[in-house]
């Protein structure tokens, strides 16, 4: 039988664990945005080597499952003498993986801009730096916003994978709780609710940002 009191009492430990889920996805996307911007710049650069590097980066990180990347980071880093807390390793791995997707989102948004946008700026003698800052990036950001929010929501869900390296995020916390209370149904429904609430909030944030930047 489904027990409402058990269901409600499952939330408290999971809220605690939700901090890690949030931390991993938000810091992960933040890192992904920064590194993704650099990779995108490399992919669009005039240097053949940089473009080659970006292509390699994107195809490796998109081609290997995040779970495998996490395990690789977990077992490989100590071997090469890097000892960092599991949390740091997890955030960095998630962020690096995300950078591959973010760079492609941005590259797509930038090349989708009509050529006339930069031509009009070039024709009045604008500096390429100003053209990037004032004309290309604001528009590319707006175009990419829905895809970026989508990526953030994917990260919230993908953060359940970091349980394999021992971080007590929502999924792992609910497994642990189910194992001690023998009430898996209540616990996992509570976990589902928490993921849903987080993602509905991010989706609302996305709509707000879209509304703010739409004209």
């Amino acid at each position: 039988m489904f027990s409402i009191p058990v269901f409600l009492s499952s939330f408290e430990p999971l809220f605690w664990a939700a901090r890690f889920t949030l931390l991993i996805s938000v810091l992960g996307i933040a890192l992904g945005l920064v590194v993704g911007a650099l990779i995108c710049a490399a992919a669009l650069s005039r240097s053949r080597w940089l473009r080659w590097f970006a292509a390699l980066w994107v195809s490796f990180l998109r081609g290997v499952p995040l779970l495998v990347q996490l395990l690789l980071a977990y077992y490989l880093l100590p071997v090469i003498g890097i000892n960092v807390p599991a949390m740091v390793a997890a955030v960095v791995t998630v962020g690096i993986c995300s950078s591959a997707y973010v760079s492609e989102i941005w590259r797509g948004a930038i090349i989708a801009l009509p050529k006339g946008q930069t031509e009009a700026a070039t024709a009045i003698g604008m500096h390429p730096r100003d053209i990037w800052i004032r004309i290309i990036l604001p528009q590319a950001f707006r175009i990419s916003l829905p895809a970026l929010i989508n990526e953030l929501i994917l990260l919230v869900k993908a953060s359940s994978l970091v349980s394999v390296v021992g971080i007590l995020e929502v999924t792992r916390a609910s497994q642990a709780q189910a194992a001690t209370t023998f009430r898996p149904l209540e616990v996992y429904i509570a976990a589902a609710c928490i993921y849903l609430i987080i993602n509905l909030c991010f989706a609302a944030l996305g709509r707000y940002l879209e509304y703010r930047t739409t004209v």
Binding site: G116, Q117, E119, A121, I124, G125, M126, P128, D130, Q139
Partner: protein
Amino acid sequence: MVEASSVEIRNVNKFYGPFQALKDVSLSIPPGKVSCLIGPSGSGKSTLLRCINFLEEYDSGEIAIDGQLIGYVSAGGRRMSSRRLREMRRSIGMVFQQFNLWPHMTALQNVCEGLIRVRGLTKSEAEARATDALKKVGLSDKMANHPSRLSGGQQQRVAIARAIAMEPRLMLFDEPTSALDPELVGEVLSVMKTLAAEGMTMVVVTHEMGFAAHVADQVAFMEKGELVGVDAPSRILNHPEDPRIQAFLRTYHERNSF
């Protein structure tokens, strides 16, 4: 009124891979006059116009604005520095068929942008000058609108305001009315006529033969990358000697009479 530029185009060739888009084109654009470029689709009109501000690189020949070669340090020589090129472009306005307004900025911001970033004006100076430019094209009541909230004719007038606010000495127009609904063409042409009357040097690629006939001081006809002829509009449009121009005008009149 600032002084108007002249343009001297000499033996210009332009290739896209093996395809030759401009074949030994020479043309004099006198200062303060309106020169129209006409010709069939694909004849190289836009390409020639875009070579004048070096938006398109020409491969050989010379294009000089007030005697200053654009794009190259010397004829057949090295590319000019991008800084010098930007300086030259400051005094050349361009208006595009698709308007190319920046959609994330209001009409006023579209006009201010170049004044602030390129001319180095302060925001309030730029806004004052942009307001004048928008008033001149009849849009003082639409300054706060984004392009998506403007009709095609209004957008094109903002684009003209954006160009003239920079106080150019030469204006290039690439089919400025071709993307407009017929009832909106007149408002754009009338702004252009005002500019012409003020003595602006204008080079206009157009399919509007009425504009060419009544406003142009000279009309040049292009076909297959060649400049076939250039003459006063009355002569070239009414009594063309070259059979290619005759054929073009015949199809034009057939299409526009019903």
